[in-house]
């Protein structure tokens, strides 16, 4: 699974992406957040405030209940501020 991080989430984790083999019990974006949080202090800090998180699966906005599987491109970012 390709996982991308943007803005302050990228800064807290210290990199812009991961390429990870995700265990089968990770079925949703919410599961993925929980699994990533255990990977280190930077991840824990990035995902501490779930209300501040927005996410996309395969480049479409989704909510945390959306399913994920290896082969997906998943992205985490704060609320967007373009324009």
């Amino acid at each position: 699974m390709k996982i991308l991080y943007f803005a302050w989430i990228r800064q807290r984790i210290g990199k812009s992406s991961d390429e990870l083999d995700v265990p089968q019990e990770v079925a949703t974006v919410s599961d993925l957040i929980g699994w990533l949080q255990s990977r280190g202090a930077g991840y824990a800090a990035a995902f501490a405030d779930r209300d501040a998180l927005r996410m996309a699966v395969n480049q479409e906005h989704v909510d945390a209940a959306h399913p994920v599987s290896n082969g997906d491109e998943v992205a985490f970012f704060p609320p967007v501020t373009g324009g």
Binding site: F6, A7, A56, Q59, E60, P79, V80, T81, G82, G83
Partner: protein, 150 residues
């Protein structure tokens, strides 16, 4: 039509290209967003726009298609820049053209409102107190919600 680019753009050139050869256009509306030198009480010396290459283009294309589906537009353009910009520089523009003004005005407002809440861009402001990420505004969500279909 949508474009995501680092370079600046010339709105007059863009409008001329968009309207050329389309004599059915009776009105053109454009909106240009600029980098301000202030933000909630602090000075801003520069702004860096980060985006999600790939998804940005898809989201803008989706928003552009939605505008064309809702209003009788003859032409439509969204340009959004990324990278480091100085106060006064252009960030983005939308241009809408239609036979009559109302569709062009409404579609332009819709495009800006929707891209502010849907297109994956993030602004990092540099100032005297260091760098800070711009926070999303509830007023932007409210502006976008006006266009949700019942």
């Amino acid at each position: 039509m949508i474009r995501v680019q680092r370079e600046d753009f010339d709105l007059a050139v863009e409008i001329a290209a968009l309207t050329g050869g389309r004599p059915g256009i009776g009105g053109v509306v454009s909106f240009t967003g600029l980098v301000r030198d202030f933000s909630t009480g602090k000075q801003v010396s520069a702004m860096t726009l980060e985006h999600y290459p790939g998804m940005t283009e898809k989201e803008l294309a989706r928003i552009d298609a939605e505008a064309c589906a809702r209003w009788p537009l003859e032409a439509c353009l969204v340009i959004h820049r990324y990278g480091r910009l100085q106060p006064g520089e252009q960030i983005m523009a939308v241009v809408t053209a239609s036979a009559h003004r109302q569709a062009a005005f409404e579609a332009a407002e819709f495009l800006v409102d929707w891209l502010k809440t849907k297109a994956p861009f993030w602004k990092l402001e540099a100032g005297e107190q260091g760098d800070s990420w711009v926070e999303a505004q509830a007023s932007d969500d409210e502006a976008a919600a006006r266009w949700e279909k019942p």
